[in-house]
């Protein structure tokens, strides 16, 4: 009866167009009142405890670093390198598009920003070079999604926070799957565009492009290399990223002014304003559920149906695919990860590997109607019809599904750097 009251209230709030943060806050308060000690003040205490974590520092700082780097001419510089480096190869421009997205994603940490930044240059270039509109749209939308699995990635950090998994390990584990997905897209690009005219390769042009973009290329190397070598923690690497981005954009590329830097910081803070209260409320519900041993009960319940890791992983894949249709990745991780992780651990699945599976799975949600964010953004950015783009991404979606299955059932692909 109490559960029904909570569900009805949430549906009513949904109809009254409430924000998720308010709905989560209500759910947390209701849970403490109805099933806990009757004290709403625990929600506030949980919120404080949720925010008071060093590990969270990496989120605003990585977002800030990505935003700073995305403001300047990084995309143009990276694209120049990739274009020059792939000249002479069959489907060179297609490969350059995918690689530009992968590298830019590693810097910006954002799928949609990657799509816009790379797409604004590469979409017209691909069409001019004779590539089909279907391929161009599909490649940009799909390769744009690499941003959430290529480290440093905010969804990976969120998963780490919600499940108490090492963020440094998650970053290392993201490398293999990111390379796999990139390779799959590159291979597909070569196969479907084999007959496209090739530009002439010039070593001198590559060197010139490298000179202009070397600092952008170096950023992911610095971050991942620094973490891997033990120079700094994942949290500290975020501050290093901000520092590096400011130095490069302000003094080397000189693409950013102090005023723009301030604007970028405010923009980043605005993003935090929508993310952090949500995170705090979600962690409050998480704390309540742990206190009431909900995950434990869930594990017991599920263990009667699920006998082996394979069936659990298959059920999870199906569930997350459906979730990806209707929910944004941040909310999905905040709400679902804490529920699934105890079951995954009970099935002897490595939590780091499970995190990668979850993120790679939710990544598909960027390309699936009705709420595929990359489709919506591409629609606005390239002025194309929603369903034209939705159809264009289908081959890539299938490729990514193949990639997802490999990532899911070959844990070594994710864990080889971690172990």
């Amino acid at each position: 009866m109490t559960a029904l009251a909570l569900t009805s209230s949430l549906i009513l709030m949904l109809m009254l167009r409430q924000r998720i943060v308010i709905m989560l806050g209500f759910a947390a308060a209701f849970s403490y009142l109805a099933w806990g000690d009757g004290e709403i003040s625990y929600v506030v205490l949980d919120m404080w405890a949720a925010a008071d974590q060093e590990v969270l520092l990496s989120i605003p700082l990585f977002i800030l670093a990505g935003n700073i780097m995305s403001r300047g001419s990084i995309a143009r510089r990276l694209i120049a390198i990739m274009r020059e480096a792939t000249n002479g190869i069959p489907a060179g421009l297609g490969i350059a598009t995918v690689l530009s997205c992968a590298f830019f994603a590693a810097i910006s940490g954002s799928s949609t920003v990657t799509l816009i930044a790379v797409g604004s240059v590469m979409y017209p270039a691909l069409l001019d070079a004779g590539y089909t509109k279907k391929y161009a749209l599909g490649a940009l939308c799909a390769a744009g999604t690499l941003g959430i699995i290529v480290p440093p990635s905010i969804p990976l950090i969120l998963y780490g926070v919600m499940t108490e998994t090492s963020i440094a390990d998650l970053f290392k584990a993201g490398v293999g799957p990111a390379i796999l997905l990139t390779l799959l897209m590159v291979t597909y690009s070569v196969i479907v565009n084999w007959g496209m005219p090739r530009a002439k390769f010039s070593g001198r042009a590559v060197l010139k492009a490298l000179k202009g973009g070397i600092f952008a290329l170096f950023m992911p190397v610095l971050i991942l290399g620094g973490i891997y070598a033990g120079w700094f923690t994942a949290t500290e690497s975020a501050a290093v990223a901000v520092f590096y981005a400011v130095i490069v954009e302000l003094f080397i590329h000189r693409d950013l002014t102090i005023t723009e830097l301030k604007g970028t910081a405010v923009e980043t803070a605005t993003m935090m304003g929508s993310l952090f209260p949500l995170l705090m409320m979600a962690l409050s519900i998480n704390t309540f559920m742990s206190y009431e041993q909900v995950p434990h009960a869930l594990v017991e319940l599920m263990s009667t149906w699920i006998s082996d890791p394979t069936s659990f992983l298959l059920i999870t894949l199906g569930l997350l695919l459906i979730v990806g249709f209707f929910m944004d990745i941040g909310s999905a991780i905040l709400i679902i990860a804490p529920l699934l992780i105890p079951i995954a651990i009970a099935q002897n699945i490595d939590p780091v590997h499970f995190g990668i599976v979850m993120i790679a799975n939710l990544e598909l949600g960027y390309l699936t109607p009705p709420l595929g964010l990359n489709i919506i953004v591409a629609m606005t950015a390239f002025g194309e019809d929603f369903w034209v783009i939705a159809k264009a991404v289908i081959p890539f979606l299938l490729l990514m599904l193949v990639g997802l299955l490999i990532i899911t059932f070959v844990p070594e692909l994710s864990l080889f750097l971690v172990n």
Binding site: V43, W48, I148, A238, A269, T270, G330
Partner: protein, 184 residues
Amino acid sequence: MELARKFLDNALKVEKFITLSAFVVMTLVIMGDVFSRKITGLGIIGAPRIAVFAMIITALVSFGLASDKRRHLRPKFADDWLPESWDPILIRLQELMTAGFCLVFAVVAVGVVAETYALEETSRMLRIPVWPMQALIPLVFFIAALRHAIYGVFLNLRPTVEDASGIESVPQSDGVKVSEESAT
């Protein structure tokens, strides 16, 4: 209404200043800690705690920035469940409900802060009382309550949709920051 507009403008200015300063502190303190550790072998005492407090300040204060840009995530799929002609009243209700929740949380948070003050809780590393930091929670919720109440009463002061496509608002983090109008 002029007073309400002035309040919103000034609150925004203060929020921007505080979040900017907190970002500078966060970055410099952690960088200083890393450099100091590499050069002298010793980190700055309490640096991570200072950075965490700066982050909490940013996280809480920026709630208002997100409200000002209508960036709080909102599930949109149920928007058609009620007749379109109800929209004006629904918008008011949405804002006033948000204001009500924020007010309740603010009042509850005052109690929590009072308890922390009475218990004389201190940060172990920095040896400073925790309650002034915690006091930000009720303050932020009070301001949010006031802000959304103003939006509910004076609809023309409510921010217009800034980025329906979510283009500007999606970082990262993706999925993490989706504009309110393009949300889940």
